[in-house]
């Protein structure tokens, strides 16, 4: 399979800070590459280099075979960018925002208008199209922002934390749109702080920390590497916590973490949760919650790097 985005040894410094300390990454054509990392890891800087917004201090990157520095114009013909902040003109209406992009891309007035209507329809914004976007909700703005990125039918789409700040429903809707795009052969590079998002969407993952790649692989490989899912059992009555802890310890073979509300343990055997439930039912313990969740980004980080995600500043140098 072809590689559409390929970066080797990218370095970018801002003053004394090294935002990128030699980053390699590759996205296969028509797939989603997720770049996972905490704030300050260098995700946004990497996207800005790949989107020709800033030049790297070292290393090189090619998009669709074109160099992002020497052939920036050709790269721009292939890409579209949806940043962390919905980059729409708030004083213009939804329709005007989309027509503006279409006209800049060389579409005729009629074609730009048609494309705008089409996208507004697709993103369920048809009714709001004539309203100034400052009246839009956060989710509507993000949808319009994504629609604006799709006006020119890009072959490569950069999504910089596209769902940060969205409610679960809006997030799910956006995930659906991203899946449809790759179905059409679009290559997507997505940055995220959410392990779950990466797991849902990504074909490949790159985990970066403090400007360096700390892990590469498919979501399954990475999960196998960092381990397991987390089982959390919360009894209806706190008095049953010791029983729950004993059952989980016996079945998982390791000491679980016990808080005043729940018992949590890392598990790798999928047969374990039903077994725990069975034992607790036999012991007549009423269970309020039994959940199995993906390791959080922090847990992935801890497993990969031995340290927790630092509370660094936002990695967008421009505030």
């Amino acid at each position: 399979m072809d590689t559409t985005i390929e970066a080797t040894g990218l370095v970018k410094r801002f003053g004394d800070t090294t935002a990128l300390g030699g980053v390699d990454l590759a996205a296969r054509t028509g797939t989603v590459l997720a770049v996972l990392g905490p704030n300050g890891a260098g995700k946004t800087t990497a996207v800005r280099v790949l989107a020709t917004l800033i030049e790297p201090d070292g290393g090189q990157a090619r998009v669709g075979g074109y160099d992002v520095v020497a052939q920036a114009h050709q790269v721009r013909r292939l890409i579209a960018l949806t940043g962390q902040y919905a980059a729409v003109d708030e004083t213009l209406t939804g329709v005007e925002n989309l027509i503006l992009i279409g006209r800049l891309l060389g579409q005729s007035r009629a074609a730009a208008r048609r494309r705008a209507d089409e996208l507004l329809e697709q993103f369920e914004l048809a009714d709001a199209g004539g309203r100034a976007t400052k009246t839009y909700s956060g989710g509507m703005r993000r949808r319009l922002d994504l629609a604006a990125s799709l006006v020119g039918r890009p072959r490569v789409l950069y999504l910089d934390e596209p769902t940060t700040g969205l409610d679960p429903r809006a997030r799910g809707d956006l995930w659906g749109v991203i899946r449809d795009l790759t179905g059409d052969g679009v290559t997507v590079l997505l940055t995220t702080q959410y392990m779950e998002e990466a797991d849902q969407l990504a074909d490949d993952l790159v985990v970066i920390d403090r400007g360096r790649v700390v892990a590469v692989g498919t979501p399954d490989q990475l999960k196998a590497q960092v381990g397991r899912q987390v089982l959390r059992v919360s009894p209806l009555s706190a008095a049953d916590l010791p029983v729950v802890a004993r059952v989980v310890t016996e079945l998982s073979g390791a000491a679980p973490e016990v808080t005043p509300e729940a018992v949590s343990a890392q598990v790798s055997d999928p047969r374990l949760p039903p077994a725990v439930l069975q034992r607790l039912t036999d012991a007549q313990v009423a269970v309020a919650e039994l959940s199995l969740r993906m390791p959080s980004l922090d847990e992935v980080f801890f497993a990969l790097t031995g340290h927790h995600t630092a509370d660094d500043n936002d990695d967008r140098s421009a505030a």
């Binding site: 890409i79 004083t91 005729s108």
Partner: protein, 273 residues
Amino acid sequence: MTTITHPAASPPAPVLQDRVGPLDAVRHALTLAWRSLVQIRHNPMELADLSLQPLMFVALFAYVFGGAISGSPKAFLQFGLAGIITQNALFLTMNTGVALNTDITKGVFDRFRSLPIARSAPLAGRILADVVRQVWSMAILLGVGTLLGFRVQTNPVSVLAAVVLLVAVACAFSWLPVLVAMLVDEPEKVMMLGFVVVFPLTFASSAFVPVDTMPGWMQAWAAVNPATLLVDAVRGLLVGGEVAAPALGALAWAAAIGAVAAPLALRAFRRRS
């Protein structure tokens, strides 16, 4: 606006142009100027800024200060309209900085810069739109001034020259608010420049009163103040008087401000992106 139809970018494009042609660059600038002017339609505040504020200034200056300064509103306008027009033009340049800062902080600029359009287009579009704004509000000031008794003593060519001179100086001066826009994190902070620079600049000048009524130290400043030079030139072009010397002085100031502020602004822009 020209309508050049390209087929929608059709995948997969085998060979892509490696740069933007000059015609396309003009088209991009015009499109972005259109965008900047459409904003006015949706933003009543800006429309008020461009139309009501100048109108109010003319009426207030003429009827409040006119009698005291010149004996009658009409007599004052004959002297002071050039000053009002100049002050208004310099104030309008703040909007350029505010709009630019908004575009940058909201990420709109990033979107433009990631599009295959001429690198000059966002700035050129903005400047084009600002020239339209400037000319629009000058027309209102001259129109209202004339209604209230102001009379051009020269000829249409001189009036046109005054407008061109004002636009040219305002364009260069606008690099100052643009520079500030690159350095601050909120658009509102650009407006501060208007109060700490444009107010003292225009009031301590020949804009509204003859400078010989001022204390000596202020006269010394007023004599070299770029606002005085610009006002004197505009006044000369509208109602007669010396033009060449103050116009050259104003243009020299404009060139100096542009030469210092423009590179600093561009450097600040590269740093913040």
